[in-house]
């Protein structure tokens, strides 16, 4: 019973801390990391009109963290005049990806079919990744709204990964490993990624080994990217709440240890 109560106090504390902080609107100033800059530079220096694939490999549940990252990257690619093919390897990313692409494309006056296409969702991601390496039109005979592949000028130039400069996997899990392990190892596709902060340590070895080109991670990465492209998109707004939550967790870890060492001292006489 005591256990339950302590647990509830830790919950309540978090709720109160975040709630209070969010009532105040303060922006924090943050420096841009080398990781984020590498991704930015890559997209920035590609020749205009390069074809990139964006894969929405996330669930609807991580939208709060994923959306600012996706917005920043899509805005950047469209503003540089690159062309985009959107896919989703998790069903729930489908409609999110669709809305994000339509929204950002409209901001830059890009035309569907010519500058970007959304192919929608394919289940069984490993199969889908491998299958696109053989043939994208066979994997996606129609676009998201059911129109045939050949109808679009952009897609007539694209048969498989050979015709694509890089894949940007927007992810909240380890699905991107499959992009590298199956897409990269098998078909030599270049993989970039925008991901939740939780996934960074998972992908570090892949960045170090060159299997992943670069990554943008978490709200912080989104905030950094927003600074680079000079557009606000929600990344910067959450930073203060983030910091508070962090301090709260640090406080809990320390408090837990204080309690532990005190109780130990009491038990050991002398």
């Amino acid at each position: 019973m005591k256990n339950i109560e302590t647990r509830h106090w830790t919950f309540l504390g978090l709720f109160v801390c975040i709630g209070l902080v969010m009532l105040i609107d303060v922006k924090l100033d943050i420096p841009v990391s080398a990781q984020t800059r590498k991704m930015y530079d890559f997209i920035d220096t590609l020749p205009a009109g390069s074809v990139l694939m964006v894969s929405f490999d996330h669930e609807a549940s991580s939208l709060p963290e994923i959306r600012p990252i996706g917005l920043a990257i899509l805005r950047h690619t469209f503003s540089k005049g690159h062309r985009l093919i959107g896919v989703a390897l998790l069903a729930e990313g489908t409609v999110i990806g669709y809305r994000l692409m339509l929204k950002t494309a409209a901001e830059y006056g890009r035309e569907y079919g010519k500058d970007y296409v959304y192919l929608g969702f394919k289940p069984q991601y490993i199969a889908a990744i491998l299958s696109m390496g053989e043939s994208i039109p066979r994997t996606f005979p129609r676009d998201y709204l059911g129109r045939p592949y050949e109808q679009f000028a952009l897609l007539r130039e694209v048969d498989n990964y050979d015709d694509i400069t890089a894949v940007i996997s927007i992810t909240d899990g380890s699905l991107t490993t499959h992009w590298m392990e199956y897409g990269g190892a098998r078909y030599g596709v270049r993989v970039l990624s925008g991901m939740t902060a939780a996934m960074v340590t998972t992908f570090d070895p892949y960045v170090a080994s060159g299997q992943m080109h670069s990554l943008v991670a978490g709200l912080r990465g989104a905030a950094e990217y927003e600074r680079l492209i000079n557009r606000e998109g929600g990344g910067e707004r959450g930073m203060l709440a983030q910091t508070t939550a962090h301090l709260y967790v640090i406080g809990l870890v320390l408090l837990g240890n204080v309690i532990y060492f005190r109780s130990r001292r009491k038990r050991k006489p002398g």
Binding site: N3, E59, S61, I126, S174, A198, M199, T202
Partner: protein, 285 residues
């Protein structure tokens, strides 16, 4: 019988290599040569440890912390008359070797729950896993001599949605209050949701996964955690199954080879750097 089959595999592979080597580029992808050589070496080592008698008999596995607790965990559930919950996580499918390792472990756990007449609940996100787990558990119950204690509805598909699955398993945990929870397989973000809920009902929790990131949560929240490869070795240790032990042995031999190769390559590259000419780079596969 299986030795014959093994020989057949080898001859097939040999044939394949011979054919591919003799033909021009399209049949064999030269970039994959290191992987092919590594695969052939591994196959030979696995076949050796599996079928070579002396290598089989000498081998005794070291203890893995947490595996001793398996028996205790099931015993505890029996004493408290509460169920055992086993779930393989949301990240895996049957094509994944980790899932096969988890099935092995499940088979052992099911044998025990059958013998102790303890309820085993297995919720999963994948209908294929449900189908396979039903077979595995049914057979384990039959082998333990209690086929009538098997309830197929306890091995159930809940939903494919990640957090739908997490919500459902959380619900099951807080209602059934299992005495022991096994979280073994490929987990994603749901790992800590399940582990903390399990902790709140006071269950003993044994976790194990190949998702490196979730390991950190299991280490913090569970009583025992099998780290990566330990999950593959675990079922060999538990069941004493010769073939699994043999492949654990093969993994160890490969590990030594990898270690040696790494040391040689690092020394080589250091000498290259010292002598000033840029690396020969034979180690970049």
């Amino acid at each position: 019988m299986w030795e014959l089959e093994a020989r057949f595999v080898l001859s097939m592979l040999w044939h394949y290599v011979a054919v591919t080597a003799s033909q021009a580029a399209p049949w064999f992808d030269a970039d994959k040569l290191p992987a092919l050589i590594a695969a052939l070496i591994s196959i030979i080592i696995v076949l050796y440890t599996t079928y070579h008698r002396s290598s089989r008999e000498k081998f005794k596995m070291r203890e893995i912390a947490g595996l001793k607790a398996v028996e205790e965990a099931i015993g505890r559930a029996t004493e408290m008359a509460r169920p055992v919950l086993y779930t393989p996580g949301w990240g895996g499918d049957i094509q994944r070797p980790t899932t096969i390792a988890s099935m092995n472990f499940l088979s052992h756990v099911a044998g025990k729950t059958a013998a102790y007449d303890c309820t085993l609940v297995y919720p999963t996100h994948d209908p294929v896993l449900m189908a396979v787990a039903q077979e595995v558990v049914r057979e384990s119950y039959a082998r333990a001599g209690y086929p009538d204690r098997f309830r197929s509805e306890n091995i159930s598909y809940v939903t494919s949605s990640q957090f739908g699955y997490a919500a459902a398993v959380d619900g099951i945990i807080s209602r059934l209050k299992p005495a022991s929870i096994f979280l073994l397989g490929t987990f994603e973000a749901e790992s800590l949701i399940l582990a903390e809920t399990g902790n709140s009902v006071g269950a003993i929790q044994i976790a194990g996964t190949d998702s490196t990131i979730q390991l950190s949560f299991f280490i913090v929240a569970c009583d025992y955690t099998l780290i990566g490869e330990e999950l593959f070795a675990a079922s060999g240790y538990l069941s004493g199954d010769r073939s699994i032990l043999a492949s654990v042995r093969a993994q160890d031999i490969l590990k030594v080879l990898i270690g040696l190769l790494l040391v040689i390559a690092v020394i080589w590259s250091t000498i290259d750097a010292l002598s000033g000419h840029a690396g020969s780079g034979w180690w970049s596969f």
